[in-house]
């Protein structure tokens, strides 16, 4: 499979600004907690996720560690890692296929070793591999309920607890959940919706000029990959530097009380359940402020990210046909006039 290691460059994706911004924000602050991308087929959802993998700054991890531990002493004791050397590796972006078994997600007794060698060993699953990286679920709304339950649990706690087949193991599993899907095929359980920090809707571009540009770039990529990558490498590198710089800025970001009050006022007005809305709004706001090179969170930042941070958290009225994005936008103008 040749082309997987050279995904389509992130900066070469035409339009879809919301989706790109949401992904960049999670790269700046993984604590925002994931992106949900809903939209028609062929709008570049999968392309963007794979492009993101190429864009993300590399991480430092212990070589061969199943959970990508940053330091040798953090390697879990069940893991068999002979050389505790620290290497630089790409941020993991792990696909979680539909129809995956529980064993493959959480990990299980290593049957092969148990039966052939009589050893009780743990075979880590996808959650382990996604630690410190991204977990991508295509067609997330078709995911089976029992897998969703597992994910909810782990996404919440950041830790995967395996109690099965005589094993008792826990390991860190902090990842950014990226889900994509087509709303026509079914809805997502509200519990899972809530776990996604940001949510964006993508649609096919309506004007011919944009569509032509999309096809032209894709065509250029398919025809002469090297030349195309060379053209866009610089832009991707600039964006990567910007993300790294934003991560630095984030630590010293000032959060005035006024901004906190804005967050609360907006969430109260929207009647969103729980406090996760406020927290995500705050984090996303700080991330975008850092991305723009600012040192203090302002109302403008919050306004920019409020729709994507809140639209999926509204108390759901199953029979309301107007998009929830519209409701957020309307209230935004009322509560936080810009």
């Amino acid at each position: 499979m040749t082309p997987t290691d050279t995904p389509f460059p992130f900066s070469a994706i035409v339009g879809q600004e919301d989706m790109k911004l949401a992904m960049v924000l999670t790269a700046i602050d993984p604590g925002i907690g994931g992106v949900l991308v809903f939209g028609d087929r062929g709008t570049g959802k999968s392309t963007a996720v794979r492009a993101l993998a190429g864009l993300l700054p590399p991480i430092k991890a212990v070589e061969g560690c199943p959970v990508n531990s940053p330091l040798p002493e953090m390697v879990p004791d069940w893991a068999d890692v002979p050389r505790r050397k620290i290497i630089t590796r790409p941020t993991p972006v792990i696909d979680l296929p539909l129809g995956v078994t529980e064993d493959r997600v959480v990990g299980a007794l290593d049957i092969e070793r148990a039966l052939t060698r009589g050893e009780k060993a743990f075979e880590p699953g996808l959650l382990a591999r996604a630690n410190r990286g991204y977990l991508y679920i295509d067609e997330v709304n078709l995911l089976e309920d029992h897998i969703v339950d597992l994910l909810l649990d782990v996404a919440q706690s950041g830790e995967n607890v395996v109690e099965r087949e005589g094993l008792s193991i826990r390991h860190p599993a902090r990842f950014v959940l990226v889900g994509s899907g087509n709303p026509e095929e079914g809805e997502l359980r509200p519990q899972l919706l809530d776990r996604f920090g940001l949510s964006v809707d993508v649609t096919s571009p309506r004007d011919v000029a944009t569509r032509v540009e999309v096809i032209r770039r894709r065509d250029a990529y398919d025809r002469d990959r090297e030349a195309f990558l060379k053209t866009w490498q610089a832009k991707d590198a600039t964006l990567r530097r910007k993300i790294l710089k934003a991560r630095d800025l984030l630590a010293g970001m000032e959060t005035p009380d006024a901004a906190l009050e804005d967050c609360a006022a907006l969430c109260i007005a929207l009647g969103s359940d729980g406090l996760r809305g406020e927290l995500t709004l705050l984090r996303a706001g700080r991330a975008i402020a850092a991305f723009e090179g600012d040192t203090s969170l302002t109302r403008a930042h919050l306004r920019a990210v409020a729709p994507m941070a809140l639209r999926h958290r509204l108390r759901r009225d199953p029979l309301d046909e107007a998009g929830s994005g519209v409701r957020v936008a309307r209230l935004l103008d009322e509560v936080l006039p810009g």
């Binding site: 296929p97 079914g186 032509v212």
Partner: protein
């Protein structure tokens, strides 16, 4: 030759095969809608012209077989881990048989694999009904579409493609250029046909290039684009472009070039050959009159089917209440019960040790494997059977809709599936196959027209049919009947009150016999005794809407569902 007769059915098939043989990676594959038979065999046997190894897979293929994994039997025999190579590791052209039964999970994984550009998929879709199609997550990623059902054996012939010419075409492929404006024309055509996905124009360009390479041309020309439009774009169309008789009512007049490059030089003769209406025409020629309706129906129904949850059809080997484990082979889907497996192997250790003294560790044979089993409670399906007849329509239909919406909100909370059957005039209609999408249900309900007689029996019959199918798919159906009760149209469509009433009663009894829980909601202004009797026959609770408030409705529903 293919070019002049590109729109004759078998010539189209030959052309599709040629394109696929020239550029399988660029086109991603072929969605082949055809029943099994000689014609299809002819086509499939010619697929050897593809420059890829051919692998035939059933839709029930396991992950291990696809992506590889540990070969347990071999590992046990060898005493060390033996990896098996998955089918996809060879970057093959996959022939997916019975693609209409392909589960969404497999479709997505094949789609992801296709996205890497490693191979191609030929989906043999044997769907009989219009709504029985391969999952859109897969077909979306297959460039070409062919329907062989209309082609008789006589109209077909064996396909032989010259391998030398194919090889030359493949070499030429990278150097085929696009004349200015072609890309814009293709994109615009796709937009005019209402194709939202941007994969379509990409595939169309790939197809045009492949055909140009095959023709020996250095530049994509008119015939290439026509062929591409007919094989790639036509079946994706969601809106029918204006008919040919009305010339040029497209949004953009051709002379000012569409798109952004307005300062481009005046079109030269070559360019004039490829405005979008030629492409549109080509696409239109390839569209059978009813294809659009058929496909969009299929799409909607399929969407709903996907939504019905992949969990519904499970054999129950992964969750639910545990049952005793059973002997069997691990297939990547089921889970091994290690303790039971060891227990099964334990008594044999001494004997086996004697047979192979040099082996260490436990001696486990494939026959020792025990698999876990679980009993799963299935998903529930609520079948709304709504009377939309004239008598109901006048005053009560709106209220009935209100009641259904109330029940819908409940169904949503319970994560139930919902189906919608309406009866009026002379028959019943399945407005919405089982789905979890309430938005769809509500939309269909809002668009529900009223008027005509009350074919109560037909409505019940349809509801029963839906219930039977749902049960076959592992769901637990419940029928909610909303009517004002005066059956006056018989099953054969005649307006005969006596027969109609008798048939309705018979259907009600039949429904009770299938042990389908039901609920009868009387929407008449005055409660109907006849309906109470009918409810009795169905062994269903009876509820008169005039007196039913939200709470009562929900109680009745709970008791019906609890049954």
């Amino acid at each position: 030759m293919i070019a002049p007769a590109a729109f004759l059915p078998w010539a189209r098939a030959e052309a599709a095969l040629t394109l696929l043989a020239v550029d399988p990676h660029g086109l991603g594959g072929l969605w082949l809608r055809a029943r099994a038979g000689g014609v299809r065999e002819r086509f499939v046997s010619a697929l050897t012209a593809l420059p890829l190894p051919i692998r035939k897979l059933p839709p029930s293929v396991s992950d291990e077989a696809l992506f590889g994994g540990i070969d347990l039997s071999a590992s046990l025999a060898a005493g060390r881990a033996v990896q098996s190579r998955g089918v996809l590791a060879t970057n093959p052209a996959v022939i997916l048989t019975m693609a209409e039964r392909c589960p969404p999970g497999l479709a997505v994984r094949l789609g992801q694999w296709l996205d890497t550009g490693a191979g191609a998929v030929i989906a043999l879709d044997e769907g009989v009904e219009a709504d029985e199609t391969a999952p859109p997550a897969l077909t979306e990623r297959l460039g070409l579409f062919l329907d062989l059902d209309a082609i008789g054996w006589q109209a077909s012939r064996a396909i032989r493609l010259d391998p030398v010419r194919l090889a030359e075409a493949r070499d030429r492929l990278a150097n085929v250029t696009l004349p200015d404006g072609t890309l814009e024309a293709v994109v615009e055509t796709a937009a005019t046909l209402g194709i939202d996905s941007l994969r379509a124009p990409r595939f169309a360009l790939a197809a045009a290039r492949a055909f140009a390479a095959w023709r020996g041309a250095e530049e994509v020309g008119d015939p290439d684009l026509k062929l591409a439009a007919s094989l790639v774009l036509a079946h994706r169309a969601t809106t029918m472009p204006e008919a040919e008789e009305e010339p040029q009512s497209a949004p953009e007049p051709p002379p000012p070039d569409p798109g952004e490059d307005s300062e481009s030089p005046p079109p030269d003769p070559d360019r004039l050959d490829i405005p979008e209406d030629i492409l549109l025409e080509a696409a239109r020629t390839a569209l059978p009159a009813d294809l659009l309706a058929r496909l969009s129906a299929g799409r909607a129904a399929h969407a709903a089917k996907g939504a019905s949850g992949t969990g519904a059809r499970r054999r129950g080997n992964r969750r639910g209440r545990p049952l005793p484990s059973t002997p069997g082979q691990p297939d990547g889907q089921s889970r091994i019960d290690p303790v039971a497996t060891l227990r099964a192997a334990a008594p044999w250790q001494a004997v086996r040790r004697r047979l192979s003294p040099d082996r260490t560790g436990l001696l486990i044979r494939p026959s020792d494997f025990r698999l876990r089993r679980f009993q799963e409670s299935s998903d529930r399906l609520l079948i709304f059977t709504v009377d939309a007849s004239g008598s109901a329509a006048l005053a009560r239909l709106a209220e009935a809709k209100g009641a259904v919406e109330l029940l819908l909100a409940q169904a949503y909370a319970r994560r139930d599936h919902v189906a919608l059957v309406a009866f009026r005039g002379t028959g019943a209609e399945l407005l919405l196959p089982p789905t979890r999408s309430l938005v769809q249900t509500k939309r269909r309900l809002a668009g529900l027209p009223g008027g005509g007689g009350t074919p109560l029996a037909a409505g019940l019959q349809m509801a029963m049919e839906v219930a039977r199918m749902a049960r076959a798919r592992g769901m637990t159906p419940t029928v909610a009947l909303l009517t004002d009760g005066r059956a006056n149209v018989a099953l054969d469509g005649r307006g005969d009150r006596a027969t109609a009433t008798e048939e309705a009663a018979r259907m009600a009894r039949a429904l009770a016999l299938t042990a389908t829980p039901a609920l009868v909601i009387d929407t008449a202004t005055r409660p109907q005794d006849a309906l109470r009797v009918l409810a009795g026959l169905m062994a269903a609770p009876y509820l008169a809407l005039p007196r039913a408030d939200a709470r009562k409705l929900s109680q009745a529903l709970s008791s019906a569902l609890g049954a």
